[in-house]
């Protein structure tokens, strides 16, 4: 299979996934899906964020102790819970990552 054919196949399939439920328009979805759809965003972002942080830990810091990425994630979670501000949480996370990096002598990924 040529690279272009593979890329187009994934592009077409991805578009089908994007559009499949949008195509329903204002027709009713199954009630279960309808109730869940409004909760997709918090579930998806938190799942991807934690999976991403854990993945970075695996790649950059496989040791079970001194887990700098999770410390950073904890700081962001705290700021999110208290301030409800994405920019503030992000700034705190990046500062925490840099601080932990300094404290660990530059062994962490940031």
């Amino acid at each position: 299979m040529s690279p272009l054919a593979a890329i187009l196949a994934v592009g077409l399939g991805s578009f089908a996934l994007r559009y499949a439920l949008v195509a329903f328009g204002d027709r009713a979805l199954p009630p279960v899906l309808d109730r869940m759809s409004g909760l997709v965003a918090p579930a998806a972002f938190s799942a991807m964020a934690f999976a991403g942080l854990l993945h970075l830990r695996d790649v950059h810091d496989p040791a079970p102790v001194g887990d700098q990425t999770l410390v950073t994630g904890g700081v962001v979670t705290l700021v999110v819970a208290r301030r409800r501000s994405a920019p503030a949480a992000l700034a705190a996370g990046l500062i925490a990552a840099a601080a932990v990096d300094l404290a660990s002598g530059g062994r962490s990924p940031v």
Partner: protein, 248 residues
């Protein structure tokens, strides 16, 4: 774009005389662009990485850019390039689509906002649907309502697509001359985590976020990013159960 509307106010003109088309479009579109900019700090390095991987896989640059346009999804794109480089394109297609299955859930969530759009616009909006535009769109509909929300979403989506293709192009052109951008990998999960803060404003959403994070984290070892899909499904279901209990 906001300056067009603002100028009427500066010169003392009654804003009610500003055509709805200008007033209703410029501010949400500018907001959509502004809200998308922080995402680019995480997205651009990923695009550059994909450009470099495209060159290394021996894929023609035009094909690489077409891939960026039609797939518009970083992890799936990397999976396809990996498959092409290893002579396993068929398996890579399955992998990439499994990674992208979360887009089905995003479509379900955006459907109520897009149900009144014309078919052509619905197709365009769906083509731009990916994690940053999903978050940006939800924020836009919450802030501006359906009309302004469309402009917010579309403007942010166009900026993201432009930056995405440009960064892939940079990776293709500059390749190994570029520094290692792996350290910026931390930015995207942190930003997603910060975005959760804007989403969690009641118990069902808090439960959805907590359960989604737990399942997504516990199942990280599973292939094809199944853990993330499971986190979305189980998290949203848990939130729905809490919502049902609170309503009854």
């Amino acid at each position: 774009m906001t300056r067009v509307a603002d100028r009427f106010i500066v010169v003392g003109m009654n804003t009610s005389t500003v055509p709805d088309e200008i007033r209703g479009t410029a501010r949400p579109a500018a907001d959509g662009v502004r809200a998308m900019l922080p995402w680019l700090v995480g997205v651009v390095p990923l695009g550059i990485t994909i450009g470099v991987a495209t060159a290394e896989a021996g894929v023609h640059p035009v094909t690489g850019l077409v891939g960026g346009l039609v797939m518009f999804a970083g992890s799936a794109h990397l999976a396809v390039l990996d498959g092409i480089a290893n002579g396993a394109a068929g398996a890579a297609i399955v992998t990439a689509l499994a990674i992208n299955i979360r887009l089905l859930a995003y479509g379900a969530a955006m459907r109520p906002f897009w149900s009144t759009l014309r078919q052509g616009r619905r197709l365009l909006f769906a083509a731009l649907l990916i994690d940053p535009t999903f978050a940006n769109g939800l924020e836009g509909y919450e802030r501006h309502g359906p009309g302004g929300g469309h402009h917010h979403y579309l403007a942010g989506g166009i900026v993201l697509m432009g930056a995405w293709l440009a960064s892939i192009g940079i990776g293709l052109a500059a390749g190994s001359l570029l520094p290692d951008l792996a350290a910026l990998g931390l930015f995207m999960p942190l930003f997603l985590l910060a975005e959760v803060g804007g989403q969690v404003d009641d118990r069902p959403r808090a439960v959805a976020a907590l359960v989604g994070a737990t399942v997504g984290g516990l199942a990280i070892g599973l292939p094809l990013q199944v853990g993330i899909v499971a986190g979305i499904a189980v998290g949203a279901a848990a939130g729905a159960i809490v919502n049902d209990r609170e309503s009854s």
